[in-house]
Symmetry: D2
Subunit: 348 residues, 4 copies
């Protein structure tokens, strides 16, 4: 195997170059993976557009991409659970295993986690990527590499649904019908939610979601009053669980207004604004709980089983495919939400 590989390198904002770089080395407990499919995440598009995201700044060239499926190309000396040729997916964050959060099972909060495609750790828009073996999972034959790549955003949805403590018979409102919103819809139903409302401002997207994923009600927030519609369909009670997956100030404001008394609001993903637009009295009047989601823990095995059993449909999210050469186009498309894109995948 040659020691170099092709990779799409982010040099600075809006500048991506595909070039030959050194192939990752494999330590004793690691495996090398021949990348077969990489999903394009909103965070990749943010890094591409701005050269930064939240507190992270791209100062050195960086390979983006952290939603990754592939084939085992090499195994470290201590690795027994994989063989060359195995079909796998990667959980892209490897924690320190030693801090108090790791020991409590909250390794997503590990201060020393190394997460792919965050400045300092290269990602998967490349021919190869390496990972510690215990953060790599076998991909069942029933599941394609493309679907495998989408296990990562599905993991975010699973973490969301578990944190929301959704139970049999709950009602759920999902604000935002992007990939995370759609995966939350599917994971909420798989967890027993019986009434699922989803909102967005893009009519095409709502039509697509309605056709493919069958929500109880899809509301176009530009044409209808979300609070009024949800009050009407819930006889004034509001919903048990609200999942904010749009990251806009308007959707944040809606959350406590549609919560049932004692309900749960879960905020998925980091919003672009600084101050919270909640009206305090609403939060108190409804006695809601509020949680934020930061990545996930122990979700990949669940994600794989849900897809393998047909309880979640990942195929229908994939609207566009690009070769590694066209990574820039994939990022542009995702950034601009053009051409009805829901999820773009890069196939190296």
């Amino acid at each position: 195997m040659k020691k170099s590989m092709q990779a799409a390198i982010l040099k600075k904002a809006k500048q991506i170059e595909v070039q030959e770089v050194a192939r990752p080395q494999v330590e004793n407990e690691e495996v090398l993976i021949r990348v077969k499919a990489v999903g394009v995440c909103g965070s990749d598009a943010h890094f591409y557009r701005d050269g930064r995201l939240a507190g992270w700044i791209v100062k050195e060239p960086l390979i983006l991409g952290h939603e990754c499926a592939g084939e085992i190309a090499e195994v470290g000396r201590s690795v027994e659970e994989f063989q060359v040729g195995d079909r796998v997916i990667i959980e892209p964050g490897v924690p320190c295993r030693r801090c108090e959060w790791c020991k409590r099972g909250e390794y997503n909060l590990c201060p020393d986690i190394r997460f792919m495609a965050v400045p300092g750790v290269d990602g998967a828009f490349a021919e190869y990527v390496s990972s510690e073996a215990d953060f790599v999972y076998p991909l069942p034959d029933s599941v394609s590499y493309e679907e495998g790549a989408l296990m990562e955003p599905l993991s975010v949805a699973i973490e969301t649904i578990k944190s929301a403590k959704i139970e049999l018979g709950d009602s759920v409102a999902i604000l935002g019908a992007g990939p995370i919103g759609i995966l939350c819809l599917q994971a909420a139903r798989a967890a027993g939610a019986t009434d699922i409302y989803i909102t967005d401002v893009d009519e095409n997207r709502l039509s697509y979601v309605t056709t493919k994923f069958n929500p109880t009600l899809a509301i176009n927030a530009q044409k209808k009053d979300v609070v009024g519609e949800i009050k009407k369909i819930t006889s004034g009670r509001g919903v048990d669980v609200i999942l904010e997956a749009a990251g806009t100030i308007e959707t944040f404001k809606v959350t406590p207004k549609i919560a049932k008394k004692g309900g749960m609001i879960v905020l998925v993903g980091i919003p672009p604004f600084r101050e919270f637009p909640f009206q305090a009295s609403q939060l108190f009047d409804q006695a809601v709980q509020l949680r934020t989601i930061f990545r996930y823990t122990n979700t990949f095995p669940t994600a794989i089983r849900l897809v393998d059993k047909g309880m979640v449909d990942l195929k229908s999210l994939i609207t566009h495919r690009f070769s590694l050469d066209k990574t820039k186009e994939a990022l542009e498309l995702t950034m601009n939400r053009e051409d009805g894109v829901i999820k773009a995948v890069v196939i190296p």
Copy 2:
């Protein structure tokens, strides 16, 4: 409306007579219900066979039947939420609303609960039955009275699944493929379990369950080694949640042997034997949790939504129908598990 009604009265063990008795009166906060369908429960069959069950003894004539759907025939003066003619189902236990358990929402444990078809409170094998209005729920048009009657055993299954804290991706083993086992199977899947194993000793029942309810694996415990089969399919790890729904000493013994380390065992229904056959060391080695289920709280609205949305199939459980005159035959059939019975329903 006449002041009397036909009812099937249990006089003593194995003696049921259908005769004319006084119709229940309706208090201010009560409704009268014209019974349309009543499921036959194993506990009804036990009372019929033995004249007793657990600590309860039938000393006075008793009307059995507590799985009941019907039509509102009369409303008390303070009742605003129902009108004559409404299609409804009944939650058969009305608690005191004042004790510490009621105030904590654990009203199933209320020491003063009045539960239908337990000595002292007449049940629903009759033309009419009364109930406090807030323990009566509207039945959607999409759901038949027969299905409505089965919301009560479905409630037991929902309570079981909630107590078991089943999460997305869990594996579940259900010991016993009777009505409760089948409903647990369906509720577990609705709650996100991806791998569901069910065992029984009746090949016909297992075939029926496999055809209708699609478990991951159905195991005939008379022909195969349940522990071995489950160890094999779980690569030696055992399952996350075990639901004991057969009430036999053999199935109890199996539970800790098939649990994953840290797993959960839930015991549904009262077994006929006195001492627990667990091997203590197994319970400790596996660090399992163990819970018992006693009826349910706040499950009826969930049950209705699950059936209304098609997430649980009650129709396929109903194998036999009897008129009120034939209540005795319905009880005999259930008691003897004859003719491939899964669930018998009495239609007054």
Copy 3:
């Protein structure tokens, strides 16, 4: 017993008159209580000052006061658990017992709860008050009426600590050293918190709290940088649980900045401002949970046991006593936080 009684009536903002009014009648399941001590709550002072609080407006004359201990003066016909002369305290909200929240044990959220001293339901600044018997609790001989009156704010603290899920060894920061803050401090310690930090802007109050209730650290937020101090004492990690008990915009802003990753913020009491001043990115970076507290459920028996066993000290909170005639002065003192008041009690 005469049919009238003396009561302090709020006519409109800042206008209290003590006058003779009809004594409450006792229904079958109620008891009449001769009031012995009533605590003055911040909400009483708000109603007094403004004639309103949050969404409630005083349109009819209203008796304030909902922190009440007294002696049984009369028992309704169905009441068996009390006798005339019994020393008791009152839980001041009686819910409907029938709605979904009541049945789940979340009766604090009952939309039809009747809560004392909220417009529509008279309170306890009077010679007598009535209550349903199951919301009345025996007061142990070891506990004075004055302390008994303070079981109500202690209940708020207990609800807070339970909602915060405080565990053995947790660190807790309490923002605000008023009565609720002090009771949270004591309840947090009783629940196993080992490191308790408390802040306020009133040096006298902090001295008092330090002397009487022994926090790990008391911080004067006017003189020191709360965030810096807490980061220093926690080696930069932040605290497990933050309890906001001051209701100011400054303290709200502090909460996510001092939370440990994965920590819990609990907001006690309704703040006077409309929009939340949290910086969104902080809430996300720290992956915190956030809850609001609205009254309490099932806390009175716990409150009584904690005080009876000496695990919480209520005596040291009581700084001022007034006769019923001086209710206005008690409210003024509480409103203006004069004379080092922590808690004023009216003794009718």
Copy 4:
């Protein structure tokens, strides 16, 4: 530093020899600890008496002792958090950090955990012991080495109290007043239990416990009827939480009989008998939950804080001290429960 050390070696049942053996080497991420105090655990005494415990068999010479405090003697190359001379305690089990249990924070269930003084891993009845640095904790100056050694059994008690989900105001019955029972008593009180009952059959031990640790009630199970006494003091309701810490068939039988409806039974430590003596109907009638405890996770920092703050008293448990030469005598004393021993400590 010399390369050998003195250690007390278990050769086979009842045969201990103190001899010179190789000193442990220190890997990169490890520290070497000069042992200052080691508590004698019941499991050490079992291994000594029988040469085996549960499924473990002593086939090779083994150093016992896993309750250990000492001084850092050497640090591995990658260790930054400790210096030679630091006073520390050891958490005696180091898990694999890679399996599903480790990643969930349930590292006590790790199948590949290396636990001191279990066949295959030497313990601390020796001059030196090594450990991975992140399972070593600084001992505050306020806490002696002897007390430090007892942080390990305190960890078992903390795990028990957390698993029991003890809340403010709970009542707790502890069956067995040995070291674990006494530590459970103290941890339960620290967690907010207000009513704590403890039973034993040894009058001297009960007197000691009553004097030093102030339970609500101490019951001599040989002289009094435990069930009757607890029913009496709880007005027939039973207790919220029962902790079985004696490991006898009689105490196991008692547990469901004294549980409140909906209560929690926690079994601490592995009993010597095979089949559970519970009466099934009692477990069901009371609708109890039941858990077993296997070691602990994330408890050491809590243990240290509780002792440092004076919320748990370890000193009063230590009744006997032995030199390393007298390890055999320490084990004999513990095994035979002679001379009023509660806890013996070996001081190398």
